[in-house]
């Protein structure tokens, strides 16, 4: 072999072959299901939207991203005011039903829920607003001189935060629950739905009535399950948020004031 050729090309050839080899390495026969992990899409939001849990009385309202910021602010403010009133004190009545139909590999599910504000309306003060993607976010507090909001942007990591897998336990005063939702094209629908799901879960944690019927033979199984509750809660707020390309997640907390499972 020519010495000059080998000095110049042998290291390059070796590296190229090694890289080619690594690209050929197949993953071991992996699990059918893969751990939840966001693809390369990275999402950025204002810090007060993601980590607003530390700000007392903070409520976020949603609006479509209108071309005129004042219009979006005004719609978002009305939404925030309604949410603040609901969060302050509410009655939540939930009923969910599940049925596994015999002889079919099919589940039938339905739910009925109603959230009623129990507090009187109170004024809220606009602290910040921002347009992110297709939605407009409005931050309000019940006090014009209230605490300052966390500043800056937060870029969400690709690994889910710990509270999704290990929801915090209640400390007696505060109850916690995780809410999830599909990330809809209109993004605020996804966050709104995740918050609603979180409040439902929180209510069912406090008190849940279970009624179920299970019939099983050698050939088939039939199962009907109903879970319902009626709970009064107060100071309900979003502590933290995370999302990936497909779903939105929120950690909500609140005080349980009365439990009356139906």
């Amino acid at each position: 072999m020519d010495v000059r050729w080998s000095r110049r090309w042998l290291p390059l050839t070796t590296v190229a072959l090694l890289l080619a080899g690594l690209s050929c390495v197949r993953a071991p026969q992996g699990p059918e299901f893969v751990a939840l992990r966001s693809p390369e899409v990275r999402f950025s939001y204002p810090a007060w939207f993601i980590q607003g849990g530390g700000v007392a009385g903070l409520t976020v309202g949603y609006s479509p991203a209108y071309s005129t910021a004042a219009s979006a602010d005004s719609v978002g403010l009305i939404d925030a005011q309604a949410r603040a009133r609901l969060s302050s004190r509410m009655r939540l009545v939930v009923e969910k039903g599940f049925e596994t139909i015999p002889g079919e590999s099919m589940d039938s599910r339905g739910e009925d829920s109603q959230e009623t504000p129990l507090a009187d309306s109170f004024p809220v003060f606009l602290k910040a607003s921002v347009t992110v993607g297709g939605m407009h976010l409005v931050a309000v507090t019940p006090d014009s001189l209230g605490p300052s909001l966390p500043s800056g942007l937060v870029t969400l990591g690709t690994t889910p935060p710990e509270w999704i897998q290990l929801p915090p336990p209640t400390d007696g005063e505060w109850w916690y629950a995780v809410g999830v939702s599909t990330a809809y094209f209109r993004e605020y629908y996804g966050w709104d739905e995740a918050e609603r799901h979180g409040r439902q879960t929180l209510a069912l944690n406090a008190g849940a009535r279970l009624r179920s019927l299970m019939e099983q033979t050698e050939e088939e199984q039939r199962a009907v399950l109903q879970v319902s509750t009626a709970v009064e809660m107060g100071s309900v707020s979003v502590v933290s948020r995370w999302r990936d390309a497909n779903n939105c997640y929120v950690l909500v907390r609140g005080r349980v004031l009365a439990v009356r499972p139906r």
């Binding site: 390495v25 336990p169 995780v178 033979t217 004031l257």
Partner: protein, 188 residues
């Protein structure tokens, strides 16, 4: 020496491309969280693991959680009935007869229970193409722990009742009503 490096690289490439990854991992069931099969024990808690799959993540979590709560309720009180049906039919005569004997067993379980303080203490979500599988571990405090929790709820309720009865709230009520009256007077 250089030829040896080149040869070794070729061997590595061949081995890497040909290897199928049959080497077993440390966890024999990586699909399933370890806590799902090794459920914790605690004299003050009831635990129930459950799983469900759906194209919608919220539905998968809801069903798994409801199943988990139902499992807890079953641990507390379940009315199980063993049912059996037997159907016999004989056709033909004597040694030529055929006996058709169908024996059917069934189990029926009914649950009607209220749970206070049950919650998902662990959950793991796995994705398979367009579907999600949610694994949850539902726990519920029992005995003294549950009594303490319920006492806390009752005291929260009592505290709010006292707040409603307080002078400040009455003042607020009066002021709001006065404001509403003035609004009505100004805008009939």
């Amino acid at each position: 020496m250089k030829r040896a490096v080149l040869a070794a690289s070729l061997v590595l490439v061949t081995a890497a491309c040909g290897g199928g990854g049959a080497s077993p991992g440390p966890n024999p069931n990586p699909d399933i969280p370890t806590w799902y099969t090794s459920i914790p024990t605690d004299p003050n808690m009831l635990y129930q693991a459950a799983t469900s799959e759906s194209r919608d993540l919220q539905l998968a979590v809801n069903k798994a959680t409801a199943d988990g709560r139902n499992g807890i309720a079953q641990q507390m009180e379940t009315r199980f009935q063993g049912l059996s049906e037997r159907f016999q039919e004989e056709t033909g005569l004597g040694a030529e007869s055929e006996l058709l004997d169908q024996f059917r067993t069934a189990y029926r379980g009914v649950v009607n229970q209220t749970l206070n303080g049950s919650r998902v203490s662990r959950q793991e979500i796995k994705q398979n193409g367009v579907t999600y599988r949610a694994f949850v571990l539902v726990e519920m405090p029992i005995g003294a722990a549950n009594q303490a929790l319920m006492q806390r709820i009752r005291s929260n309720q009592a505290m709010y009742t006292r707040f409603r009865a307080a002078q400040a709230f009455e003042d607020l009520d009066r002021q709001v009503k006065a404001y509403e009256e003035s609004q009505r007077a100004g805008n009939p």
